[in-house]
């Protein structure tokens, strides 16, 4: 398995934790990530995202199945895999007592750069991640976003062929999230294959070429963000009414554009409807409501939430629906 079309290949990977519940870990995890692409591994808490990342980055041994990263077997050629990967864990893994620069120099030395080039590389990266001023301060004084950026910088000292990023922006404010996203985008431009995990569809949508949805240790749906969203009924139209009396009429109007089942939230006077044709549905509903003399408080078109996607994927059929597009 050399000259690889796929930078990451996992086939039927199983991992059971001795002290975990029956479906914790991975239960037949399959994944293929094309070289140079960005794959988003999307799943709720406990889906097995971190487990998958730890196995692929050789930190955790698998029980069954096979996984290759950059053409090498993670189980038997760990050293070769580690020479080609970078790992940004779920929680920033940098030395808190050291300064940002000292951290980067340390990891540079551990990548066997000469002292002078390690220092030079540290300065370059601090500059690139807008940390040059903070670079002389201990990491314990950094904000969450700064730590995340330093964490990312430490992984890029020697640019890896394959980068694993576990929940890069969980717990960050919107500004910090943007900073991390732009740092990641820049990397992708440089040709690195990235596997990133996230709980937010929005994030996968922003960054990934390809999304794999993970549930209970298995990939239950896969495809490009657009194809997946279309397969799930595209966006949602939320209609918020001022009172309950208009609800029945509104439901009738909404049903005309629905690509799936409506959700009614009675207490919030809200009718949510999955729509495939976004803008035309919005126009149609708005004008029909106007004709019926109903003035809604709000009409918004929005992305489905992860909860809705999972409900959609698991509700349709008795066995979990699998969508591969």
């Amino acid at each position: 398995m050399k000259a690889t079309e796929f930078a990451i290949v996992a086939q039927g990977v199983r991992k059971h934790y001795a002290r975990g519940t029956a479906d914790a870990g991975l239960n037949g995890f399959d994944l293929e990530v094309r070289s140079g692409s960005v794959c988003g591994l999307l799943g709720p808490n406990g889906a097995g995202k971190t487990t998958a990342i730890r196995i692929l980055s050789t930190l955790l041994a698998l029980d069954a199945g096979q996984a290759h990263v950059a053409g090498y077997d993670v189980a038997t050629q760990g050293r070769r895999v580690r020479e080609r990967i970078g790992l940004v864990g779920q929680y920033a893994a940098v030395d808190e007592i050291l300064t940002g620069r000292q951290n980067l120099v340390l990891f540079g030395r551990l990548h066997h750069l000469a002292a002078a080039s390690a220092r030079k590389r540290a300065d370059e990266l601090l500059e690139r991640f807008a940390l040059n001023e903070a670079g002389r301060r201990p990491v314990s004084t950094y904000s969450g976003g700064m730590r995340r950026r330093l964490d990312l910088a430490a992984t890029l000292i020697v640019p890896p062929a394959v980068l694993f990023v576990d929940e890069p922006t969980t717990g960050l404010d919107p500004a910090a999230r943007q900073e991390v996203w732009s740092a990641l985008r820049e990397l992708v431009g440089a040709g690195t294959t990235v596997l990133l995990t996230t709980q937010y569809l929005e994030e996968a949508d922003q960054l990934a070429d390809h999304i794999a949805m993970l549930k209970a240790g298995r990939v239950i749906a896969e495809g490009t963000p657009d194809a997946l969203k279309a397969a799930m009924g595209g966006n949602w139209l939320d209609i918020v009414l001022s009172n309950r009396t208009d609800a029945e009429t509104t439901k009738g109007i909404a049903a005309r554009v629905a690509s799936g089942e409506l959700h009614i939230d009675n207490s919030a006077h809200r009718v949510s409807v999955p729509v495939a044709a976004h803008t035309s549905a919005l126009i149609e509903v708005a004008s029909a409501l106007h004709e019926a003399g109903i003035a809604p408080v709000d009409i918004t078109l929005r992305r489905p939430t992860l909860d809705e996607v999972f409900l959609h994927l698991t509700a349709d059929s008795p066995t979990p629906a699998e969508v591969f597009v």
């Binding site: 050789t58 930190l59 070769r80 020479e83 920033a92 940098v94 066997h112 000469a114 430490a154």
Partner: protein, 276 residues
């Protein structure tokens, strides 16, 4: 990037060994940076044994008569040197659990370095820490009137035995640090260190203790090193009862060797099971 070096797997075994040492040193150097950035913590660790010496010297110095004359400090210092080595256990354990909890250990493990370098780096840093701490305690002892009466070679041999004990305890620290999930568990070891040091010949004569406690104190590895250090420094002691008391220098080698034989493989195994 042009600065990338040749992949380590392609190098000769000698070069790989060289890199493993260089990596260990890079990791140890991290601790030396910690000393500079947080001098308070490390100084407190070094001064704590000095405080204990002043406290016990003041409390018991008048009450306890040491055979063969000499002041209480003459008797106490070698035991305190050994106890200071025991206190090092906390330093090691705290560093190991903190790195594991913060994910730093995992980051090291995801790098293409020999995983032994991570442990060896800890080893080097903690041994250096103890050498400095021991030096400070020796100087404090000299200021308080403690002297070594034997030759320089014997004194150096005593220092060697003390550091050997520290080296053995290092592996207990690494092992406990690996299996403890959180840095808070270090508190348990901080407490346990006290009965271990009291149940020894460091502060008082074990023959004055009730029978079984005295036996326990005599067989305590700390007692062996303390008694051997007293002999080699030419400081007064209680000679000790029975076989164990007569063979302190031997036991000061056997005990640490035994601890290393048990805890080094356990530490290596604990490090490997991180991958399970």
């Amino acid at each position: 990037m042009s600065t990338t070096t040749q992949p380590a797997a392609m190098r000769s075994p000698f070069a790989r060994f060289g890199w493993a040492l260089a990596d260990s040193w890079a990791i140890a150097l991290r601790d030396l940076h910690h000393w500079v950035l947080q001098p308070g913590t490390v100084f407190l660790g070094w001064l704590f044994p000095v405080m204990i010496v002043l406290m016990f010297g003041g409390l018991f110095g008048g009450a306890i008569s040491v055979p063969g004359g000499g002041g209480y400090f003459e008797f106490l210092m070698p035991g305190m040197f050994a106890t200071a080595m025991l206190f090092g256990l906390e330093t090691t354990m705290l560093a190991v659990t903190t790195d594991a909890a913060k994910g730093v250990t995992d980051r090291f493990r995801s790098l293409p370095i020999n995983s032994a370098a991570v442990v060896l780096g800890r080893c080097i840093a903690d041994m250096l820490n103890s050498v400095v701490g021991l030096t400070i305690l020796v100087v404090a002892g000299l200021l308080l009137g403690w002297r070594w009466r034997g030759g320089l070679i014997e004194a150096l041999a005593a220092i060697g035995l003390l550091l050997l004990l520290r080296f053995a305890l290092l592996w207990i620290g690494i092992f406990c640090g690996m299996i403890a999930k959180r840095p808070e568990s270090v508190a348990a070891v901080q407490i346990l260190v006290w009965p271990v040091s009291f149940l020894s010949n460091v502060f008082v004569d074990p023959t004055t203790m009730p029978g079984w406690l005295g036996a326990l104190a005599q067989w305590n590895p700390l007692s062996a090193t303390a008694a051997a250090a007293r002999q080699l420094f030419g400081n007064p002691g209680w000679g000790g009862e029975g076989w164990i008391g007569q063979h302190a220098p031997l036991m000061a080698i056997v005990w640490p060797a035994l601890l290393v034989v048990i805890f080094l493989p356990l530490s290596v195994r604990a490090f490997r099971t991180l991958a399970r």
